[in-house]
């Protein structure tokens, strides 16, 4: 090993500390998850029975099939929506592109289950649209519950990933490639299929993977709108929560199955993308041109229609938060009583969200900077392994992570269950990658010779890191930290498993309020969360000086 030969300097100890943290808080919990899935709850003996039960009973394996079918459909639809919008807005003049971008990003980053809950308010059994069609026109609208509802909500929520990825890729295509095709006699339409599409295929696949993973892992949406259509995260949650104790091992087995499946999909995608990828950099990126009148109108209708649909939940939430309520019903007239109620009863959830979130972000920033530095500048076996482990949050669904942490830390020597620490831990593990990635990205742009200059002038490595490297990394780190922050405060699927009465956060409270059909307070909480998200985004754009988001 290279490390053993190197002097035991500051970085040696940092590597050791981080490796220890990973072993305790990620490797060990995952290990206990897999271990407990093979344990019989009564006797404590080794058993295959949990896995056998899963594949024998239709009720159980049905959930996996449901998950796969709805996730596959969401992925295909998200690509079919996201990629064309990205191409249209990059290749042609679309009015209000900046506004569209901002709306798309907001709809993507707002809490995941707001979509489900708003669509229930609009098109559910007693929803606005449903009642309107039934009472005024006598038409029964198709049901929003089940497969189609999940498909609608998740597609509208996740196509922005594809949109942002593909927009980025299109920016890296030099216009001379497109001109070269034209100069060789290729007409504009065939150019899209012979040049542009093959060039962005790896990116489309990467975006599709992100959509797939998110859709597969999403817990809030199918829980609220899925009803009889049970998917894996919902099954895991209900098995784990309903009969705590006896079923924990079965839930662990379900979680382990999920991890194995997501790992396989992740590796498969990596393999395909690596085979197909090539590096591109654009000296002159594509410039938008003007579409002929008819196509121009169609493009605008298509884009604005979709963006409107995806921002509808936010509008609904903010609007209903100001409505008068009686019990779970909205009644005509406006008031601030929903806000009064939440500050009165759920004030702790709001402070919890900010306090836990800030603590998690501080840890994320420190870890993100160190790990990024180690994996780009001090590459060796251990730092490579650490780097690989930081990919795990992409693979492990939130609810699985929640169960994993709970199983590992609900018994001595480390009892964390029920504390704020375990929620912060879940936040850090799940949302570290954003900060890590942007820190690594900016490190690649900083020449190592700058550090060497500082060391050559007599500044020891540790002080050099804090005085020179860290300062130069800061813009990239902060940009990533804000994304981490936004996703931390909106986190639901792990915290819903880990929370107790005193550690509930806003997203957990919104979820429980919706379950209790207390829509007014849920809307008010969601509005506060959305407002925080929007303000954080504005700071992000101000800080990075661009309207672009890299995930």
């Amino acid at each position: 090993m290279k490390l053993a030969a190197s002097p035991r300097d500051f970085w040696f100890w940092t590597t050791l500390c981080i490796a220890a943290l990973f072993i305790v808080f990620l490797v060990y919990p995952l290990f206990s998850l897999f271990a407990s899935s093979f344990v019989d709850a009564e006797s404590g003996a080794f058993t295959w029975s949990h896995y056998a039960a899963f594949f024998r009973k239709k009720y159980y394996y049905r959930a996996l099939l449901n998950s796969m079918s709805v996730t596959a459909c969401v992925t295909v639809l998200a690509v079919l929506i996201g990629a064309p919008i990205a191409y249209l807005t990059s290749a042609f003049h679309i009015r209000g592109k900046k506004l569209l971008d901002t709306l798309i990003i907001i709809s993507m980053l707002s809490p995941p289950f707001i979509g489900a809950y708003s669509w229930i308010l609009l098109a559910g059994r007693s929803g606005l649209i449903t009642t309107f069609f039934a009472e005024q026109l006598g038409i029964r609208t198709p049901t929003i519950y089940g497969f189609s509802g999940i498909l609608l909500v998740l597609t509208l929520k996740l196509y922005p990933f594809v949109y942002l990825y593909v927009s980025g890729a299109l920016k890296s295509i030099d216009i001379s490639l497109s001109e070269a095709a034209e100069s060789l006699g290729c007409d504009p339409l065939r150019k899209v299929f012979t040049i542009i599409l093959p060039l962005i295929t790896p990116t489309v696949l990467a975006g599709a993977l992100l959509v797939f993973m998110n859709a597969l892992a999403d817990f809030g949406t199918p829980m609220l709108i899925g009803e009889g259509f049970v998917v894996m995260p919902v099954l895991i949650y209900s098995e784990f929560v309903s009969e705590m104790g006896g079923q924990a091992n079965f839930a662990a087995a379900l979680a382990a199955i999920m991890v194995v499946i997501t790992c396989l999909i992740f590796l498969g995608q990596k393999y395909v993308v690596n085979k197909k990828s090539f590096t591109m950099s654009a000296l002159r990126p594509m410039k938008p041109s003007q579409l002929p009148a008819v196509q121009n109108t169609l493009a605008h209708v298509f884009i604005y229609g979709l963006v409107f649909l995806s921002i509808v939940p936010q509008i609904t939430v903010v609007y209903t938060s100001f409505m008068k309520t009686r019990g779970s019903m909205f009644v005509p007239g406006f008031s601030l009583e929903s806000y009064a109620t939440i500050f009165d009863k759920l004030g702790a959830a709001i402070t919890n969200t900010y306090v836990f979130g800030l603590v998690a972000i501080l840890i994320i920033i420190v870890l993100g900077m160190f790990i990024a530095y180690l994996s780009t500048r001090r590459r060796n076996l251990i730092t490579s392994i650490i780097d690989t482990f930081t990919m795990f949050p992409y693979i492990i669904p939130g609810s699985v992570l929640g169960i994993t942490l709970l199983l590992a830390f609900n018994k001595p020597p480390m009892v964390l269950s029920g504390t704020a620490a375990i929620i912060v831990l879940a936040f850090v593990v799940r949302r570290l990658p954003y900060t890590l990635r942007s820190s690594a990205a900016i490190l690649y742009q900083i020449s190592p010779s700058i550090e060497e200059a500082s060391i050559s002038l007599g500044c020891p490595p540790m002080r050099t890191f804090f005085k020179v490297t860290a300062v130069m990394m800061l813009p990239g780190v902060m940009a990533g930290a804000i994304l981490s922050w936004i996703t931390v405060i909106n986190e639901l699927s792990a915290s819903v498993i880990l929370y107790t009465g005193s550690t509930r956060t806003m997203s957990v409270s919104i979820y429980t309020e919706v379950i209790r059909a207390s829509y007014g307070t849920a809307a008010a909480l969601s509005s506060i969360l959305t407002l925080t998200t929007v303000i954080s985004l504005m700071i992000f754009f101000k800080l990075t000086g661009s309207k672009e988001l890299s995930l």
Partner: protein, 367 residues
């Protein structure tokens, strides 16, 4: 089929900014024609107008007798080589070269034969199945060239194709381009800011400045008889002296004048002039005749020694403190040191006389 190109009074504007005010030129069938000028002179803009990637605000561009203004780029049957090569990164070398043929009526067997032949011509047949990522800059350049020529275009358009290559490869590639162009016999418009490249590769050169053509001529004419001081200084180096002309007599200083014996136009007005002399076209006078100059600096370059020379009379050089003089080592008797005083004579055949405004007064030079 190769064509001639006629550019008639074209205008290019970006918003309020006029890049090309009014430009006309004719390029003959099969000619290697170069647009040369400093960056921002509009040469690439003009090339892209011929290609169809830039709109034409006014005027006509014709291929033979056909006006092409309204024909989109993909129907003009051009071959274009880009500065960054623009080789498709997702296609192998062979698929890159094949690419344009699928849009033309070429039978598969013939297409394959043409691609093979072309790969051989540009000497990249060994890399046919590689992806461009694994090729050097020079090899990518050859792919780009092959891809442009294999479709038998009307014209070949090249936009600074060699500027991303290192010096040695650049010299090698320009010879290759020249050879291939002559073998295929295709009308070629070539854009560069590198004057040496332009001189060695072109049949004719158009020197451009701020969207206006200064001179269109064969390379040796451009070099020996520039139409104005801009061309004289841009192509090679010219030392510009303040001189005065009366009849055919050109006076440098009170004690040095030369007789131009009909080299200057007979209607050239007497009075103040500017005279351009190239560094290698002075003659050292052992007899102490001509202009006395003091060596400020000498730089040994192998085949040449370059001197920086200053004159006692500052009015001789209105725009510069010193002149440049290249001494050929092959004929040099001695190398001078800073502080030495030498005497220089000029060869009337080689010098160029301009008006104070910078226009050539030499006979036979068309503006």
């Amino acid at each position: 089929m190769s064509v001639s190109i006629h550019v008639q009074n074209v205008v290019k504007k970006y918003g309020q900014v006029t890049i090309i005010p009014d430009l006309s030129l004719d390029i003959e069938n099969g000619e290697f024609f170069t647009l040369l000028g400093p960056s921002g002179c509009g040469k690439t803009t003009l090339l892209r107008m011929i290609a169809g990637f830039n709109s034409i605000e006014a005027g006509l561009i014709k291929f033979d007798e056909e006006v092409i203004n309204a024909i989109p780029a993909h129907k003009r049957n051009i071959g274009m080589v880009f500065q960054n090569y623009a080789v498709f990164p997702h296609l192998t070398v062979r698929r890159n070269v094949e690419y344009g043929l699928q849009f033309r009526d070429v039978a598969n067997s013939e297409a394959a034969a043409r691609v093979d032949a072309m790969l051989k011509t540009v000497r990249i047949e060994d890399y046919a199945d590689r992806l461009p990522e694994r090729l050097s800059g020079g090899q990518q350049q050859r792919v780009a060239l092959a891809r442009a020529i294999v479709v038998h275009p009307n014209v070949l358009l090249m936009d600074e194709p060699l500027s991303n290559l290192d010096a040695k490869l650049r010299v090698e590639m320009r010879a290759a381009i020249r050879d291939i162009q002559k073998t295929v016999g295709i009308t070629t418009v070539y854009v560069t800011h590198d004057q040496e490249e332009a001189l060695c590769i072109s049949d004719r050169i158009a020197v451009m400045r701020e969207g206006v053509i200064q001179q269109i001529d064969a390379p040796q004419v451009i070099y020996s008889r520039p139409v104005n001081t801009f061309v004289a200084s841009f192509i090679g180096h010219s030392n510009l002296f303040a001189t005065s002309l009366s009849g055919q007599q050109l006076r440098f200083s009170p004690d040095y004048a030369v007789d131009l014996r009909g080299l200057v136009r007979s209607d050239a007005p007497s009075g103040k002039t500017v005279t351009g002399v190239r560094p290698e076209e002075f003659a050292l006078s052992s007899a102490g005749l001509g202009l006395a100059a003091r060596v400020v600096k000498s730089t040994f370059l192998g085949r040449y020694v370059n001197y920086e020379l200053a004159f006692g009379d500052a009015s001789l050089l209105p725009d510069q403190a010193a002149i440049e003089f290249s001494q050929d080592i092959g004929t040099a008797k001695m190398i001078y040191q800073p502080g030495d005083v030498i005497h220089l004579e000029v060869n009337p055949e080689k010098i160029n006389v301009f008006t104070e405004a910078g226009e050539s007064l030499m006979s036979g030079v068309r503006p």
